[in-house]
Structure formats: C-alpha cells, structure tokens
Symmetry: C2
Subunit: 633 residues, 2 copies
Amino acid sequence: MPPRRSRAQAVGHSLRAVLIGAPLRARELASEQITPVEGLSALSLDALTSVAYGPEAIIVILAAAGAGALDLVLPITIAIVGLLMILVFSYRQVIDAYPGGGGAYAVSRANLGHRASLVAAASLVVDYTLTVAVSIAAGVGALTSAFPSLSPATVPICIGILAAITLLNLRGLGASARAFLLPTMIFIFGLLAIIVVGLVHPLGAHTPLPGHSLLPTKDLQAVGVLLVLKAFSAGCSALTGVEAIANGVPLFKQPRAVRAKRTELLLGVTLGMLLLGLAALARQWHIGPRSGQTVLSQIMAMSVGRHWAYYLVSLTITVVLALAANTSFGGLPVLASLLARDNYLPHLFSLRDDRQVFATGIGALAVMSGALLVAVNGNTDKLIPLYAIGVFTGFTLSQTGLVVHWWRDRPARWWYRATINGVGAATTGLATVIFLVSKFTAGAWVVVVAVPLFILLFLRVHAYYEAARRSLGIGRVPPKPESRPILVVVPLAGISRSAQRALSEALSMSAHVIAVRVMVEQPEDERRAETDHELQEEWQRWAPGVPLHVLHTEFASVVHPIVAFIDDLQKGHQGEHIVVLVPVVVPDRLRYLFLHNHIDAVLGRALRGRPDIVVAKVPTLLASGGRGSRKHD
Amino acid sequence: MPPRRSRAQAVGHSLRAVLIGAPLRARELASEQITPVEGLSALSLDALTSVAYGPEAIIVILAAAGAGALDLVLPITIAIVGLLMILVFSYRQVIDAYPGGGGAYAVSRANLGHRASLVAAASLVVDYTLTVAVSIAAGVGALTSAFPSLSPATVPICIGILAAITLLNLRGLGASARAFLLPTMIFIFGLLAIIVVGLVHPLGAHTPLPGHSLLPTKDLQAVGVLLVLKAFSAGCSALTGVEAIANGVPLFKQPRAVRAKRTELLLGVTLGMLLLGLAALARQWHIGPRSGQTVLSQIMAMSVGRHWAYYLVSLTITVVLALAANTSFGGLPVLASLLARDNYLPHLFSLRDDRQVFATGIGALAVMSGALLVAVNGNTDKLIPLYAIGVFTGFTLSQTGLVVHWWRDRPARWWYRATINGVGAATTGLATVIFLVSKFTAGAWVVVVAVPLFILLFLRVHAYYEAARRSLGIGRVPPKPESRPILVVVPLAGISRSAQRALSEALSMSAHVIAVRVMVEQPEDERRAETDHELQEEWQRWAPGVPLHVLHTEFASVVHPIVAFIDDLQKGHQGEHIVVLVPVVVPDRLRYLFLHNHIDAVLGRALRGRPDIVVAKVPTLLASGGRGSRKHD
C-alpha cells in the first residue's frame, strides 16, 4: 500500500520541490576539479572583493582628522600589502602541510589541543557571519552609489540578496565555481583597467559626483599613533579570506598542492596590485568620504566618468560581493558539521538534507547574518570594527599550529618553514592585538563577548553529549535484551471499529490485556453503580475476551484517572513491561484532525519520561468520503 | 514512580495555576440558588444595560434628518416598550413550558425540527458575539465620556476588559451572581434617581458639556417611513437579553418557575421605566449626538451636573456593561457544548476544562468578539446595525416553537397561551424583517452572510461525524478482536542502552523481531561490503538474538529506506501486524530535546495513515546530570 498524503502535506511537498528541488544522491553532488584561475573565482572572492570596503575603511577613519590626514592612505596600504605577502607565503606552507584542507579549526585541533581549536572555531563562526553581512552590505553600497534612488530600500535589498543566496545553497548550487568565473574576471580586469586609466589619463576626472563631501572642514590636526593604528586595523579587513584557498585544496586538479600554491600567489599579487592602485588614486584625487557614494564608486567615476564602464563595473561589484557572501555559505556549514561530529554542536548540524547540503548550518548562518544586517541597517561602516578580528585570530592559531607541526615532524628545511610560519603567527597575532585595542570601543567588544559565548555553547553541548554517551553506554556492549511479560492497557471511549483494532493489536502482543474506560461524573448523576452495570453488560454482549475496568472521576480530565490506574498497575506488576495502546482515528484529510480529540498526545505527554511505559497509537483510517466532503472542495 | 516534569513544563503549570487555578471537581462548581432580585443581576444585565446604547441608537438615526426629527424619540420608544411587554408575557409562557431552561435552540429543536434549530443556533452565536462587543464598546464609551482623556486608548481598554472577563470565565468564576448584585442595584437606582431629578428639578441643566454637537445644521426634512423604521430597528437593540431569564430557570430557588416569572416581570417593568424616562428627558432637552459624549452621559450631566453622582453612575455603567458582556460567556459556551453533543461542532466544545468550564467555547467567543471590537475600533454605533437581528430571529423561532408545543400538548387554557406566543412570534418576526430591510446596507448584510456560513459549518461538521460514525461502526457491535502474529521492526542508530531497551520491548511482544540500521554512503566510500561485514561482526559480539538488516542509501534521508524496507516486509508477510519500535532518548530537561534527532516523529509522519502499522517510541530516560548542567542554571 503506497503511503498516503493529505493535501496539505502534498502542497508543502510541491512548494519545497519548486524552491529546493528533488532529493539528490550523494554522488550527484560531484566535486569539481578546478584550475588556479578558477580557484580565484571559487575560493578567493571574499579576499578580492574586500577592495570594495578595505580602502574605504581606511579613508573613513583618517578623514576624522581632517583632509591632510588622507595623505596617510598610501603608506598604510603599503603596510597592509606587506602583511598580505607574509600571509600568502605562510599559507603556501599550510597547503604543503595539510593538502587535505587545513582550516584553522582542524590545524589547531591537531597541533594545539581542543581548547585552542574551539577558540579558532568560535572566531571563525563570528567571522563567517560578518563576511556575509559585510559583503552584502558593501555590494548593496556599490549598487546604491550607482543608482542613488535605491538608497531607501537598502535593508530590503540586502535581505533579498541574502534570501536568494540561502535558497541557492539549500538547493546545493552554492559551489558552482565555473559560473563565478565570468563576473570575477570582469571585476578584476575592469578594476585594473580603471586604475590604469586613472593613473595615466583620467577621462572623467571633472565629472560632478552625487552627494556631498563628509570631510570635516577643520585644519589638519596632529595625527596620533592610535589613529594610524585604527586606520591600519580597519584596512586589514581587506585581508580576510586569504585562508580560503588553503581550506579548499581538495577541490583542485592534481597536482593539488602545486596548483593551490599557485592560486595563493596569484591572489596575493592581484589583491596587492588592486589595493596599491586604489590607494594611489585615492591620494591623487584627495578622495574623502561622501554621502551616498562609496570611495570605490568615487574613484571609478573620476577615472572613467559615470558612463557605461562605470555602471558595468558597479553592477559586477554587487554581483561578486554577493558571490563572496556565498563563499561563507560554503565554509560555515562545513565547520559546523565538523563541530557537530566532534559533539560541540547539536548533531542536526552534521545531518545532510535531501539535497546533500547541511541545511541547519545554512539556516543558522542566514538567520545570524540577516539579524546583523538589520541591526546595522545595511551600513558597512558599522560592521568593519567587528570584522577581521575573528579571521586574524584564526590566522594566528593556524600559523602557530603549523610551527608546532614543523617542530614535531621535522621534514627537510623544517627550520626555514617554521620561521616563515612563525613570522606569520607573530605578525597576525600582533595585528589581532592592535585590532582589539584600537577598535574595542567602536564595536570590537561585541566580538570579545560573542567568541567566549560560542565557546561556552560548544562546551555545554559537549558536556551534555558526553553525559548522554555515558548514560547510554555507547561504546560499551550493553547487556543482552530480554523478553519480559507484557501488560497492555487500552483506554477506550466506547465500542467501535477503532476499539476493535486496538484490542486486536493488544491481544497480538500479549495475553494480558486490560481495557479501561473513564466515566466523568456530573453532580446530578447519582447512578454510578447503574452506569457501571450497563457498561459491563454492553461489554459482555461484545465479549472481546478482555476485562473492562470502568474508572470514575469527578474531575474533567480523563487522562489523570488513566495515569493513576497505570501507576497502581505498575506497583502490582513489578518487572512487567506496560504498553498503553491508544486507539486513534486518522481522518483522510488533515483539516479534519481538529474534529477529533487527541487523547493520545495528552496521554503521551503525561507519561513522558516514564522508563517502563511505552505509549503507542493504533491508527484507524477514517474515510469521511462520499457526500459533502469531496464535492465542496 | 511519580511522573517527572521538566522545568519548562513546571513553569507552564505554575503560571496556569496562578491565572486559571487548580482543577475543580464537578460538584465544587455548586449551582447557585437565586432569588428574583438576584436574578436581575445574574440573568438580566444584558437587557438592563441596553439603556446605555438603545436610546442613543435611536437618536443617532433620527439626527440625520435634522433637529426636528428628534421629537420622534418618545413615540418610537413607546412602540419599543410595547414590544417589550409582548416579549415579557411571551417569555413567562416559555418559563411555564420549559422549566428546565428553554433556549431558542432547544425549543426549536424540540418543536420545529433540526433545520430551524440550526438557524436559531447560528443566530444566537452571532448575537452572543455581538452582545460581548456592543456591551464592552458601550461600557468603554461611558468611561471615555466621563474621562475624555482616555478616548485615544479606546481599543486597548476594550481588549483589556475582554481579557479580564475571559480569564474570570476560564477560572469558572463567571457566574457568581451575588457579586453582581451591588453594581446592578447602584445602576438601576442611580439611573432612576437621575431620571426623577431630571424630570422634576435638574441641578446641572446648564452645565457646559465637553465635545461639540454633531447635529446637522439643516432644516427639518420630511421624515420618511424608512427613517422611522430604521430608528425603531436600532432602538430594538435595547430588547436583547430578555430571553436570558427563561434560559436560566434551573438557577432559581424553588418554586423555580414562579420566581423566574416574577423576575421576568420585574425586568420588563424596570427596563420599560428606564427607557421611557430617558426618552422623555432626551426630548425635554433636545439631546442630539455629540462628539466624545454618549447620549446617556449628556442626560446624566444635564440632570445632576458633572459631579460625584455623575461619575459614580458612569463608572457603574462601565462595570455593569462589562458584567453584561460576561453573561454571553455564560451563554455561548453552553450553546456550543449542546451543538457539539449533537455533532454540529467539534467535540472539543463539549469537553470541560480542569476548572469544569467549556474552555474552547470561552476562547472562541473571546477571539470572535475581540476581532469584532478591533474591526470597528471600539465604536458602538458601527455595531448596532448588526445587532438584535440574531436575537429577534431566536425570539421568533422560540415563540413559534411554543405555539407548536401548546398545539401538540393541549394543556388547560392552551388556546390562550398559544395566542400570546403567536402574537409574540408575529411581532418579533415582523421586527426581524424590518431590521433586515432597514439596516441591510448599514451592516445587517454581515449577519445575513454570517448566519448561513455558521449553518454551513454546523452541517459540514455533522456530515463528517456521521460519516465517521458509519466508518467506525459506532452503535453496531464490531467483530471480536483477534490476535495475529506480530512482526516488530526496530530501527537502530547503533548499539547502546536505548537499543537494548527497544529490543527488550520488541522481544517481549513477539519472537519475530528485525533490527534495521541505515548506512548513508558518501561517494568516497568504496567499502560497502567491508562496512557491512564490520557491522555484522559487532552485532555478533553483542548477539542480542535478533537479526540485523543493514540498509544502504545514497540519499541523505534515513527514513525513506526504512519505509521502503517496511513496505517490502508487508508484502512478504500478509496478515501480520507490523509494529515499529523506535528507541528514543528522553533528556531530563526539555531544552535538551533539540540536541537529539527526532527520527520517531519523522518516521511516524511518513507512516501516518498506514492502517496495519503501529509506530511506538521506546523511551530511555537520560540523566544529563552532574557537572555543568545543574550548576549553570
């Protein structure tokens, strides 16, 4: 007999089929084999697109000290590019050491112990969430810079893009690297062209820009060390994502490590050129913050004018930033599934959906980043102070882990390798401290609160699962199961086909069956004995071969007397299993359910957690059929 | 073993205990024995308080034709009081004929058949709902007339009063007639005193009133018949509730019928005097509609000035109107329970709550009247056109039913009695037609739509229950239950204490037990046979005496393979009961539930409606206990 579905279920199923798609076999989600150039689009978008907010973050901070401070953009960018180079060479080492994919969680778990790995995991969770929020906010910023009339709809557009990305990932289409290639190339070469034109011969340098300057009209102040550090910290948001290639080594074509290292270098060179070029142009044109215009939009407009090239690259930036947000959807659900497998998150996070994706992790990321976007009104500047701290904590931990790794394994030239990663660890560790100090009051404290909270959550979940393992005796061989006498209690509302079904089932399980019927007494009734007698007579006429107990109550609930009866029964029959079989009527349409009383649910709840009692419903299918019910639909 | 409760359940229970109270025995809800004067407060508040909106309803309609039309208030009121007298004498007859309580539904069901009784029931449901909404809106109107600064909060105050009444009724305290006595007496004697003072020697006739006149400043137009009929229809809202005493005869002290008839007469005289007195004063002072001031408030202020007496009576009016709304809460849930017992409403409506009240009916009335109050913004005038139609339909049907009753029974003087009820039926029937015609476009069409919809609902529910009865064979003696071989399937996730519990239970039920384990294959695994072998070896080490079937799937869902396995099993074992026992882990705290996978729920849903399969969970209680979980709470 095929499974039956109510119409409501069927509607739910087909809605799901349209939005999410039919179930997939594991092998249908073929892992792609990518080349270095494809690697740029599949794994490096987060890093590359940070040119859309990194330089801006520096300029916003410096502008607070007046127009003169903007001269510092170039030296600060040079320092950041220097840090980028250290990171690129460090991560080329990570690729050598962990060709199976070396996320900060896995590397620090292997080399630094589970405490450090939880710090890494919590930091990464925070930063994956921030990456989604920052990328979408910056992408919508590029869009509203090009089309200022869209500004009022910033938050709805952000949420719409987030919803689309979430849905694509629930369909299991989030990782199709090849589809990302074209926009990535337009983005890289478009921006490089804009930089070259701007440096050599700007076409539209006198184009009037929308919005008004937000530069304070005060004189140059003494520029303090703290301001420089703040600008540096903010600019380092451009470096998030350089670790992604090392995490994704298994995706590359053979020889994997070689191709991955080549991609890492390619990323470093491209990102460095873009950052330096934009900084040079910003300095050349004294670009400052402007209302409704991102820094990148101003530079682009100054270089090529607000013409087709400007609009094409602006739109491409929105698209690639959305795709960059998408890469976090590749990262966090996998991290969460690893944490769940290690018992640090609910096991739900490790279950694959019908589409073979980790739907719980995808949902959690969507909810967290959506909440963040709403909280900051889709404003990138408010997110930047929170950003990069988590990533740099992960950088520091995985570089440190690598130093320990080289020290333990001692391969050829281990000393040279340990030095590179040691320098990387020291630099990124220092950067993390600078971030925390310089951005603390501006929002970094949120991260300082959130990371320990996530760690606490991981530890609590872990402690629970450990206790559950002990309590369930998993890993040990339990005693053999043994058969015991069974006592079946069947609560009835009357004599009917459904009572007969339940009693048949009960008699099939055991010879010891008791039927129970509850009579609610109204104060007027003074014929309790009489009712009893009548019920027993009716029962005898049926003679189902099972005794009937009539329970009387003056209260309205029929559940309490049944529970009390079972309690008594249990005392009198120590060592027997008690099974309660509740006859339930299952209507053929879901909407008729509310016409039936759900004693099974109430009884199940009342007996929940009683270790020696099994409560089961015995369904009787009810065809309401015929006249009336079909016709009117 | 006492039932265990999670903390969340415990919090829910104690919140409920504070708001609703502990369960009551049926006899604890002692039926009160009331006297005629107490009967006025317990059963007649709906009728008496209609003086707060009845005269106003007339004046609002007449004012549309100019100030001169207001002279018609007195003659129209005299007509209404005439109708009142007919009703009072008719209902004294109903009391004689149905001393057990003769609601329109019961009377027309007994004498006119089930179709007429459903019309009566649907009309009453509509009007009980309207009574609640109109009374609360009018009560808040009295309050905001006295304290104009409260006007902006009209809807929240309405909903607050409704919530308080609902809660009292869920506690089972809705019917404490004696508590109503004092405000009822202050209300009646206060208003009588105001009328006498106003007629004889007004103290404050020159008090300036808040608000401004809403009288149109046009000349007297020809007053058409339709206008007079409209005003009459609107004023008849003052007659709703005169049937309540006849419904509540069993509440009276012996001799019940005599005392009830005395109460009915007392009500008629009191209500008549109040209506006539107020109409005379309205005419004397040319009272018209006024912004933010009810007509009653204007009359009271003119008579005694806006001093303590005015405020005392205003507040009392609010209180008694709230109590009048409360009387519907005594009526509709009982009516709904009768309908449910006759299979016209879901049986839930006939179940008493722990406090012995019909909680479902109370909840339904609260939701419907609350929605109505919000829809009209707490404005009484908008509700009046909908009002009274249902009650007068009920009047007509029960009077007609009584004529049939007398005709059938032919007691002494039956001819005289039939005449009284016949006149009542004819008059109220005529009034109903007048209402429908004159108020149709102003809102009465809503009732014309709602009543048939309710009747349709009743009939659909009835048809379903009839089909269910037939399908379940209720009333017929079903075949005897018979034992059949049982095949128990136990889906396992591994070897543990909970697996052992489930297998013990399974072996207790049947010697034929199959354990099932689902392996989800990832494309990388190419060692399917190997895994199989390992699992079977592990199983042999345990040797639970039950075969293990390993099911392989490339899809992510573990439920589908189990369902498919059961399908196959069923084909191979025709005539056997299949029982699926799912081991489930029950954590000791509700909030840990989300840490467990709910395969039982998914499996139950997938197998729902399969008539030969019983799905049961075998609970294993899990003490998370110890370190971490207790301390941090």
